[in-house]
Symmetry: C2
Subunit: 138 residues, 2 copies
């Protein structure tokens, strides 16, 4: 049984050769929308792919980002995090547990790029921070 059909197709849509490793990583990203780090991806896949190298995960994420299949988030000062949802949405990082959550349903104006600047602006990242629901009690 192939659970990786969607990932396979998604990779080809983005002109990424779907190797076994790349398909496994994309499959993980599609099923785990937690904005995982390279280490989290590696640790999750490693048991079922014992020869997988962490370098491969790094290379893979670089290709995914370069081809626009995945967005790299700069919100966690410790690690890069990755998001297979490249649509316009914002993020929230909990300063207590470090988890990164999606914030959808923000006004589209927030994602408009400012026009009166001397820069060629390509993208915007909106990052909120504070304490998440689970950590509130603690």
């Amino acid at each position: 049984m192939h659970t990786s059909l969607e990932s396979h197709q998604y990779l080809r849509q983005h002109s990424i050769k779907p190797s076994v490793q790349r398909t496994a990583v994309m499959d993980y990203l599609m099923k785990n929308r937690t904005h995982p780090t390279v280490d989290e991806i590696y640790s999750a896949l490693s048991p079922s792919m014992p020869t997988l190298s962490k370098t491969t995960v790094y290379n893979t994420m670089d290709i995914f980002v370069e081809k626009g299949a995945v967005r790299a988030l700069v919100i966690d000062e410790k690690n890069s995090r990755y998001d297979v949802d490249v649509s316009a949405h914002a993020h929230f990082i909990c300063k207590s547990c470090g988890k990164v959550f999606d914030i959808f349903n923000l006004k589209p104006v927030l994602f408009q790029l400012p026009k009166d600047t001397p820069f060629k602006i390509d993208s915007v990242e909106i990052s909120y921070s504070g304490i998440c629901d689970s950590c509130k009690g603690n």
Copy 2:
């Protein structure tokens, strides 16, 4: 002649004991609004303060941020950057040269914190990226 009067006062306003080192770092931040890294601050001050330790700059930035005198920017995946301007404004990072620029005059609505979330949101960071004016030609 004291060029550090303002920094000295600013530190006391934020309940930070103005040691020689802290005053020198704050003075640098106030005069160099380039969102410098710890290494940039250290390298700039080191010649005139040969005994300054990089650890002190790290400690100092931690205190400044904790006391609200300075904002830590998470926009550069390589280093933390620091901004003595804690007012609501956005940033732009050039993917070519890595410099971080201010973007003022954005609509205040952009800096409003969303209310319909399960999170206790404390702050927002709006980061644009692309190519800066100087790098456009290259």
